[in-house]
Symmetry: C2
């Protein structure tokens, strides 16, 4: 009877019960005194939701809704005053608007035109394409302070168009030909570039400001010089590592260059719609470059882009409704951002920072700093935003590092670099993650596994080669 | 050249420019001193958005996004801290969850079963079906204090199933056969029932509390007795009027009863999925009936329902993504609720109440009360929630009415009754409006036109027959 009922379910029941049991187990662990009882419940629900997302008895958005329901029925969060507020999160709507705008790129064929040009230039090998994508990121990094805008507004439509143009699609078994590899290279490249310039990620200046409050000062140039060598090493190493552990099935693209050149000739000159799309694109970039100075949020540029595409008829509302990935993202990303925000609010992060501080206080400065940095890095599993993570933990961890006698400037910078690199592991880590994840070329389990691999590579480079470079610079 | 470009647009350009010009014209009118300059800009944008929604150069959700962009670029609202917050509105998510749950009703065929039973009982004439729907509302009215929950969770899936079962669909030209008429009857019936019991609409007790602060007291029974006669007259008259001005093409349903009976026999006994759906349904009703006492928001019951349907596999995430009307509603309803909220915040309503108060202060008490009530009624064009409207204007209007010497209790009650009836005019007026509108059987222009007709009928009944009844009761 039970087996008969269980077979009616659209998923294996253990995939549902394992997360629930783990969530309850966490809740039953002794609660540290300084944490709000609601926070302890929320930790259990958050971990259960994440495990549910990875085991995937149901699609991610459904699991997130169930996680939200769990918050409400356990009296952890109030639905109307607390839980629903996540749906107003600006990063969610930036991601959603960018999904829509990318559809405009593809529909007008501007995306294909850019992709063909890209392939015509660099398309002999898949690895070359990967490096080309990161180089494009690198050129824009200093000027566009939102990693989500850079990834989503510019690189993502290009990557999507390249993959589709060369016959790799998420739905028909051709994902691994090209698209999966390019997705992860573009995503990880986005994070490395974000860590290399003070102005390449929106929250980097926040780290700078928090450090300054503790009497540690560094400039744009200090950041850039210190990040230069480990950054270049990461840019070289990470695509290579992904190429080895997660290889594209198409490694060489012998005819790609000539096909791309032929297709470019066939396309002829730009259409009015392509020019419109280009104009929207350039205005959005302009807002992302200079908007920060005028207090214009990155999401506004996205809203502007979507409205122009609707007004000019480049996108119809039907096109927008058909962007199912965007609508799923509204649900799951809002809920994860909301939960992660309340974990901080309920004192989880403060408790965690203090506990970690107690552990590392007594150690030698370098061990202390490196230990802190690694814990800081991996605690990003619990965050859905770089800004939130920096706001919650950067100050506390820097203070502990300074107490152990670690060199101040490099302590502040290292935690700053890691404040972008730590997003490598999950598909909800920072704005660019759900965008690339939403392309559908990479499964959740793959995203997490290769994200973990990349995190180890990055940590080794930044703590190893970084050490040599910073010693050479006289910073350590 | 311009004509050639204009032809490329997916709509007639005047439909875009008329609302923009009206919006600018309102902005250029002399601003009353007490209003925040931002509020005056917002009024222009709000009116332009509404006119845009009615003229419909683009679908409603697209127009709403453009309205939100207008708020941002004119520096009227900040995107991230103000405009996006509307997406966390509980009523929006109640509506969205209810769209999903209705899909479960239809998918499990429970909706069809209930519809067949309904038709077997009352299905000889379309008008009879309409009255049957309102009677069902009437039975539940005293017990379910959320008009959205009652309409969306219970009546809406039944109406949708009846219309589809009897061959009337929004998309294939058969809307006017049956569905359009039943939609408006169900919607207007929902409002009349909401006005008849203190506990039939969530904000009615709020009116009671505001009145009590001004020293005017009335009980559940006072409300019910005073509403009884005009309420019954409205219940009889409104479907008849709609039947005359917006007639269903199918007036008699000669075979409907026998078809329904045959189909019920063919369906056999309830499936496991139907029983699950029934259980979800009953639990939701239970929460809506008693939840108010325990502070459980109506939206929570909706979230619960959606999660159960997902967990039991009755709904897949694909079903939910395919509910395009729900996703459009997320956009347009959130934005309209947000704008309407800020109109109040920026002092528009306070100014309006004061200006109206000045006009009516000198009049004879009955003329004053009736004038105030009518202005109160039609000002709901500017509101997307009964609660917001009551909160913003009920107290001020009641105070003016008392100043003119109008009978206190009936003044408080009349404004209370109108606090539900005034939602008849627009498709964003109260939670049940977007739900029924979302069925797609009624065009925006029809909704507004027949809404206006019904508003006149209701005002005539409540001020005319109401006067006689209240005089008879000794209240006037």
């Amino acid at each position: 009877m039970i087996r008969a009922m269980a077979e009616k379910f659209p998923y294996k029941l253990w995939k549902l019960f394992v997360p629930i049991c783990i969530g309850i187990a966490i809740y039953l662990l002794p609660k540290p005194e300084m944490i709000d009882p609601k926070g302890w419940k929320l930790l259990g629900i958050f971990v259960a939701t994440i495990i549910g997302i990875v085991l995937k008895p149901l699609p991610m958005a459904a699991i997130s809704l169930i996680g939200m329901l769990a918050c409400v029925v356990t009296n952890t969060l109030k639905l109307t005053e607390e839980a629903l507020l996540g749906f107003g999160s600006p990063i969610v709507w930036l991601v959603v608007f960018i999904f829509f705008i990318a559809r405009g790129f593809i529909k007008t064929k501007l995306g294909h035109r850019i992709a063909y040009n890209f392939v015509a230039l660099l398309g002999k090998r898949t690895l070359g394409l990967g490096y080309g994508i990161i180089l494009t990121e690198l050129v824009m990094g200093p000027a566009i302070p939102s990693n989500s805008a850079r990834a989503g507004g510019i690189i993502y439509p290009i990557v999507k168009s390249i993959a589709e143009t060369l016959g790799s699609r998420p739905e028909d078994g051709t994902a691994r030909k090209l698209g999966s590899f390019l997705t992860l290279v573009a995503f990880q490249g986005n994070l490395i570039v974000s860590s290399m310039f003070l102005t390449a990620m929106a929250a980097n200046p926040m780290a700078q400001a928090i450090a300054a409050k503790q009497g540690v000062y560094f400039s744009w140039g200090d950041w850039f010089i210190a990040a230069l060598v480990p950054g270049i090493c990461s840019i070289i190493a990470v695509p290579l590592v992904l190429y080895l552990v997660y290889p594209p099935k198409l490694k060489k693209l012998p005819q790609a260059v000539s096909i791309a050149q032929k297709n470019l000739r066939d396309m002829g000159s730009m259409s009015l719609q392509e020019w419109t799309m280009t104009a929207v694109f350039l205005i959005m970039i302009a807002v992302w470059v200079i908007g920060e100075n005028y207090g214009i949020p990155t999401t506004s540029a996205g809203l502007f882009g979507v409205c122009v595409l609707l007004l000019t008829g480049i996108l119809s509302w039907k096109d927008i409704l058909a962007e199912h990935e965007a609508w799923s993202t509204v649900i799951w990303l809002s809920i994860l951002i909301m939960m992660s925000g309340f974990l901080e609010k309920f004192g989880l992060t403060a408790w965690f920072s203090q506990a970690i501080g107690d552990i590392f206080k007594g150690y030698h400065s370098l061990i202390g700093l490196y230990g802190l940095a690694i814990v800081y890095f991996y605690s990003h599993y619990f965050f859905a935003s770089n800004t939130a993570h920096i706001g919650a933990m950067y100050g506390a961890f820097l203070a502990v590092a300074l107490m152990t006698g670690a060199p101040p400037v490099i302590s502040a910078l290292l935690l700053g670099f890691f404040s972008s690199l730590f997003s490598s592991m999950t598909h909800y880590s920072t704005g660019s993650a759900p965008i690339y994840f939403g392309m559908g070329y990479v499964q959740v389990s793959e995203w997490w596994m290769y994200g973990l691999v990349v995190s180890i590579v990055n940590i080794a480079i930044w703590l190893g080669i970084g050490y040599l470079w910073w010693s050479f610079l006289g910073l350590m």
